[in-house]
């Protein structure tokens, strides 16, 4: 078995490509690395496959500005910028590698994420009531679980938030649970703020953070 050199990349998934699923992203990455001539390490066995792991799955339709992906190579990478450039040259629109390095911390140390949520269904006048709902002792939303909906109190999962008026609606900035134990989809922040489900909103994940709320790297 060849030696395995771990590699971590920070990337963005923005624009039209936000509409591909997590599973599709995995396939796209695999193809992308192959096109770029990245010397991917493969597992042994009947059906060899490369090692690709993401920090936290990004929901379909959400943009991610500083996402994390881990992979493994068969040789040591010496030119991290060159590697990113090579990948970016053959990447689909909206998938951009920012930087690469050898990881020191496990992905499970990601605990929080910062999101920007643009709520189309709200205006400046709604901000006070939205703030009130998200500041209450509890805020129960209907969470989709399979084909039915279950109740979920989002307050314990929100670390902090702020709101401001935006051109197309209201912008909510939130820091929410995004770790191995607890995850909150920012759609429920929007739903909770407006007190109903299925609020029309656009989400962008800005950062992944560790338990100390420092940017994970």
């Amino acid at each position: 078995m060849p030696e395995k050199f771990k590699l971590r990349l920070e990337f963005e998934k923005t624009g039209r490509i936000r509409f591909i699923s997590h599973l599709d992203l995995l396939r796209v990455m695999q193809r992308l690395f192959k096109r770029a001539g990245v010397p991917l390490w493969h597992s042994e066995g009947f059906n060899p496959h490369p090692y690709i792991a993401f920090g936290q799955p990004l929901s379909l339709g959400h943009e991610g500005c500083f996402e994390i992906v881990d992979t493994a190579l068969t040789e040591e990478c010496t030119d991290f910028d060159g590697l990113c450039d090579r990948i970016n040259a053959v990447a689909p629109e909206g998938l951009v590698m920012h930087r690469a390095w050898v990881p020191e911390r496990p992905l499970k140390e990601i605990i929080y994420a910062d999101y920007e949520t643009l709520v189309y269904d709200a205006t400046t006048e709604d901000i006070p009531i939205m703030q009130e709902r998200l500041s209450a002792g509890s805020c129960v939303v209907e969470k989709k679980s399979g084909k039915k909906f279950v109740e979920l109190d989002i307050i314990p999962l929100i670390r902090s938030f702020s709101m401001e008026a935006a051109e197309e609606g209201v912008l909510i900035r939130s820091r929410v649970a995004c770790g191995p134990a607890k995850v909150l989809n920012p759609q429920y922040v929007a739903d909770g703020a407006l007190g109903r489900r299925g609020v029309s909103a656009r989400h962008r994940r800005m950062h992944l953070l560790d338990a100390e709320e420092n940017i994970f790297c």
Binding site: G15, R16, I17, F19, I20, S21, D24, R27, V28, R31, L32, F33, K34, R35, A36, H42, P48, L60, G61, V90, A91, P92, E93, G94, Y120, S200
Partner: protein, 612 residues
């Protein structure tokens, strides 16, 4: 805000939104300042099907290689997306720009299959383009159509402005360039249409008057406005010099076939009498092994693909197969790229080659005997003997294959109960052969027998044959089901209703346009999909339009009847087809082209000498 930007708001609410975004690696974007012709390559089925289509890869690249032309893709939205689009007033848009295709200059449709007509209409409607050619005017896009269905273009004649008959690498370029130049010169739509018929392979149905006799058959087809009396199909004479793209859009989401495909030849030398493709794509033209290898590696490097398929109608007949495979294995093996060889014939299966190709990944073994008895295989000219199938399977079992798929057709001309029983007998014999020869019986044997219902197609020796009725076909399926007793054999069948509808359109005339329009109005779409196909709705539409469907599919045509597609010249002569029909009834086979020229006539298209 363009149409895509409007759609972005609701894309998360539809299934598989990646179908509707574009933005893939390999997508072509152009600066509008250098674009004078905007062209939409329409595929009247889902993104997943269209993006698996080799024709799209070639023609997308080709059209975009034309100076001043920007070609975008557009697929049929799934009904959930259609509903959202209609609800929100979003018009059908090109995936590359997100702009409404109603503002484009040309919209083409790839008509691969008879049941995609309603999708074409639905796409035109979603785009806000008038459905009927006669209702389109200055400012509306020119609607083009090509593909295998257009060897009988007549059922779609009401909806299409220009049919492109035959292969597109040269034809499409000539038509688009003519349009571009005439648009620059300020010429009108009518002037362009009149000029376009000077390009060989262009068929403008509005320039042909069809009259009918009292019995409903065609009395005459008259060309006017300078259009040729017969439109001869276009072919690429030298496949090594044909356009081959450097790049193509690589889907971001899973599609049906996400692999590199390289055609190794066009045409076919086998002459199976039921097979439309084997006749209408003649004459045979091969790529040299070096071209195949170079084109394959070009696409593997571009795409990062892990699988390549060498395609054609009968890949084992490719004379350069050994050489091309040797060279490709040398490239693919160290890179863990698998090679698949579809359309292998049992009689020429080189097990050594299959063995070597499957070193990387072993795929299943598939044979298409098509008919259950030697007598019927002779009728259809499937020159494949019982012994050949058995020895191929014996070899395969002995070298470790445990799964075989067999394809057959029901409803072939002259078919009897013995022929059908022969299907079950063959499957049972393979079970026996496996028991005798399998290396490792622990893994079990899986034989899958699939039957489809035969649809007589234009341009074949069976173009006169009255198709079996739905009831006859259903009875045959039930009969065969009874006979399939072995545990290792799974029997799958296609429902005959779909084939009966195909049978109506395959040999239909322009009078069927009314029924297509009516069916679309009543909600028909995605007729090729089980979830949407509604046979009784179609029957209601035929009745409402005063059309007797049986007259189109079940009627045995007279040998001297004018057929709706007679003015489309595939290169193969009607005389050759008629001889084939008579020989079929006598159970006489026709040797393969390379053994003896059957005189089909298609060599004329290549200047009098084909590659066989």
């Amino acid at each position: 805000m363009n149409e895509f930007q409007k759609a972005e708001r609701f894309l998360c609410e539809v299934q598989k939104p990646a179908r509707y975004t574009g933005g893939e690696y390999g997508e072509v974007k152009k600066d509008l300042s250098g674009v004078s012709v905007r062209y939409a390559y329409g595929f009247p089925d889902t993104y997943e099907i269209g993006m698996s289509n080799l024709g799209l890869r070639i023609l997308y690249g080709l059209t975009n290689s034309i100076d001043g032309v920007w070609c975008e893709r557009v697929f049929a939205p799934w009904p959930d997306m259609e509903e959202k689009m209609r609800e929100n007033g979003v018009k059908l848009y090109g995936l590359e720009s997100g702009d409404a295709i109603s503002d484009f200059d040309m919209v083409s449709f790839s008509l691969a299959y008879e049941l995609c007509y309603t999708n074409m209409l639905n796409m035109l409607d979603l785009a806000g383009i008038p459905l009927l050619s006669a209702e389109r005017g200055e400012g509306d896009p020119i609607i083009l159509a090509g593909g295998h269905c257009t060897f009988n273009p007549e059922p779609a004649a009401d909806f299409v402005d220009i049919f492109l008959i035959g292969e597109g690498e040269e034809l499409n370029r000539e038509v688009v360039e003519l349009y571009r130049d005439m648009k620059a010169a300020g010429k009108s739509r009518a002037e362009f249409l009149a000029e376009s018929v000077k390009i060989p392979g262009v068929y403008v149905p509005a320039f042909y008057d069809v009259s009918y006799g009292e019995d409903g058959t065609i009395a005459a087809v008259e060309a006017k406005c300078g259009a040729p009396a017969r439109v001869e199909k276009r072919i690429i004479r030298d496949m090594d010099k044909a356009y081959w793209p450097d790049s193509y859009p690589i889907p971001n989401t899973e599609v049906v076939h996400d692999r590199v495909m390289t055609e190794v030849f066009r045409g076919c030398t086998r002459g199976c009498r039921f097979c439309q493709a084997g006749h209408v794509t003649r004459p045979i033209r091969e790529k040299s092994p070096d071209t195949v290898v170079e084109q394959t590696i070009r696409h593997l490097e571009f795409s990062g693909g892990e699988e390549v398929s060498l395609t054609s109608l009968s890949t084992s007949d490719y004379r350069g197969l050994q050489e091309a495979c040797d060279k490709l294995i040398a490239y693919c093996e160290p890179r863990s790229i698998s090679i698949s060889l579809p359309s292998l014939r049992a009689d020429s299966v080189s097990m050594a080659l299959l063995e070597r190709v499957s070193k990387v990944r072993k795929s299943g073994l598939t044979f298409a005997p098509e008919a259950g008895s030697q007598r019927l295989r002779d009728v259809i000219n499937k020159n494949l003997s019982e012994e050949e199938i058995e020895s191929a399977c014996t070899n395969a079992f002995a070298s470790g294959w445990n799964s075989v798929k067999l394809y057959f057709m029901l409803g072939l001309p002259t078919e009897t109960e013995e022929d059908i029983e022969g299907i079950a007998d063959l499957a049972n014999r393979l079970v026996f052969l496996w028991r005798q020869n399998a290396q490792n019986k622990n893994r079990g044997l899986k034989i899958t027998v699939s039957t489809s219902s035969f649809v007589p197609k234009p341009g074949t020796p069976f173009q006169w044959f009255g198709q079996n009725t739905k009831e006859q076909l259903e009875a045959k399926i039930a009969f065969l089901k009874e006979k399939m007793t072995a545990k290792a054999v799974t029997y799958n069948w296609h429902e005959p209703e779909v084939s009966c509808l195909e049978g109506i359109f395959a040999r239909g005339d322009r009078r069927l346009g009314a029924a297509i329009l009516e069916a679309w109005k009543r909600g028909a779409k995605f007729d090729g999909w089980d979830d949407y196909f509604d046979y009784s709705r179609w029957m209601d539409c035929f009745a409402a339009c005063g059309i007797d469907p049986a007259w189109y599919n079940a009627r045995q045509r007279g040998m001297d009847e004018i057929l709706p597609w007679d003015h489309i010249d595939t290169g193969v002569t009607r005389r050759f087809l008629a001889r084939g029909w008579e020989a079929a009834l006598r159970g006489e086979t026709l040797p393969e082209c390379s053994a003896r020229c059957g005189g089909c006539g298609a060599d004329r298209l290549k200047g009098g000498k084909c590659d066989a």
